[in-house]
């Protein structure tokens, strides 16, 4: 087994040097990490699992990578090896991203971006890597399905002043402020995405399309009492029937309040707050504005 291991590692090294990542991973995955013939310590096992997962991820192969990250997850909790632990976290975030579990991926990327140490073992953590992790967190949050949890993560990211330096910040700001994103902005955002983030979904929308249309629909619901599907289609830059289809699904999934009048081809957005509550809110706003005026007068010594 010892000799086989050495040969496999050598071959994997060669494959890696030729950037044949999956072949290198397959070569290493042939090593029997659970053999009773030899004493193998957990750190070695963990390092192999993480290394194989990283190789599979170089080819965006989330399925095989996940198999080894799952093995690693039993070992990582007791590992004191910080470099391996960090590599494990990065692999796990990337697998979630590839599997389009965007919100979970975003939380893990964000966690990685908050590492304080700049030196872990012999590895140097440079600012650019942290910025990449932060940017990946923003991208995944934007691509995640609209809803309260996504809103919370958006708020966290928007308030993290490191984000204001990211190239992606203007999009983050508009998404957080629930503003409609126009086609040029969406196209610019699309440039930054990885292939799997632009992949076609079974319902013939790309991941990006669906995220953007849902976001714009929610933004439109903040601006409109009601809107015709023709106008909504123009506003969102999609055919009216597509707008209706996504709107109906969001209403059905209770991620947007409203009703659809198919005869008139109009969607009626409902305000979450009852009329009387709206009245209360308006009165609160009025009193706040009055206070502001009185504060200004006091400041000016009037």
């Amino acid at each position: 087994e010892e000799q086989v291991l050495v040969i496999r590692e050598k071959l994997a090294e060669l494959y890696e040097s030729e950037q044949q990542w999956s072949k290198a991973a397959q070569m290493l995955s042939g090593i029997d990490l659970d053999s009773g013939m030899r004493v193998i310590d957990d750190t070695y096992r963990l390092s192999k699992c993480v290394q194989i997962a990283r190789l599979y991820l170089e080819d965006d192969d989330a399925v095989n990578a996940e198999a080894f990250i799952n093995k690693a997850s039993f070992l990582v909790s007791s590992s004191q090896h910080e470099v391996l632990n960090l590599q494990y976290k990065v692999c796990y975030a990337r697998i979630l991203d590839l599997k389009r579990k965007f919100l979970e991926a975003a939380l893990r990327y964000y966690d990685i971006s908050q590492i304080e140490k700049r030196q872990i073992g012999e590895e140097t953590i440079d600012e650019e890597a942290l910025e990449q992790a932060l940017s990946a967190a923003v991208t995944c949050t934007i691509l995640a399905a609209a809803g309260p949890q996504r809103s919370r993560v958006l708020a966290t990211l928007y308030k993290d002043e490191r984000c204001s330096k990211l190239k992606i910040y203007p999009i983050l700001q508009k998404v957080y402020l629930e503003r409609i994103l126009r086609k040029p902005e969406i196209d610019a955002f699309a440039q930054e995405l990885k292939a799997h983030q632009k992949a076609l979904l079974p319902d013939n929308f790309t991941v990006l399309d669906r995220a953007m249309i849902e976001h714009n629909l929610l933004s439109a619901s903040k601006l409109y009492t009601n809107i015709s599907f023709d106008e909504l289609g123009t506003l969102l830059g999609i055919p009216p029937h597509k707008a209706e289809k996504i709107a109906s699904r969001m209403i059905y999934e209770d991620r947007m309040r409203g009703s659809i009048d198919q005869v008139e081809a109009v969607i009626h957005f409902e305000d979450d707050t009852e009329e009387l509550q709206q009245w209360d809110q308006q009165i609160v706003g009025l009193c706040q504005a009055l206070n502001d005026v009185l504060d200004s007068m006091a400041k000016k010594g009037l």
């Binding site: 409109y224 009492t225 809107i227 106008e231 123009t234 506003l235 502001d292």
Partner: protein
Amino acid sequence: MDIEQRQAELIDQFVRQASALEGSALASLIVDATSHPYLFAFSEILAVPSVSELEGTDNSLYLNVLRLFVHGTWSDYKGNADHFLQLVPDQILKLKQLTVLTLAETNKVLPYDELMQELDVTNVRELEDFLINECMYVGIVRGKLDQLRRCFEVQFAAGRDLRPGQLTNMIQTLSSWLATSDNLLVSIQEKIKWADTMSELDKKHRKDIEDKVEEVKKSLS
């Protein structure tokens, strides 16, 4: 941050600059101020002495433009175009934004037809994009667009510079609001008093009943 806070610094900056300038230098300052994306108040600049001295000089058209931005609308500009200079696109955009603020002064519900006419807009999509991108997203108004009723319901609109004579009816509005609020507070006090009285009576009535029950029990036993 609300509009007033955001533009306070800008106003100070332009007033300071205007106080130190004269003639054509003032004219270009007026163009800068009336083109600035975050400035929607101009009466402080108009009040600078050197600005009003432009009257009757070669640069008096700039003074007319500034007056137009203090409380004029897009229709005022179109109706007297020779009285003003040719506005640049940023000024046109701002004057249209200011026109929405003026319209929102009188009504909380602005019909699309009136808006389209006042803003020289030919279709609903163009009007709504203007209201969304150049008004609501800039923060000068907040409200809801109602396509079925073809109107824009304004919940909040930033204050525009006051027109001459506007102060009087503002004071009237405040006075009647104060009177209404006082009356409301008085009637709420009366309601509370009435409720207290009723609950006292209710308690007394309940006690009487309980006493009677006790008496009846005693007489039975």
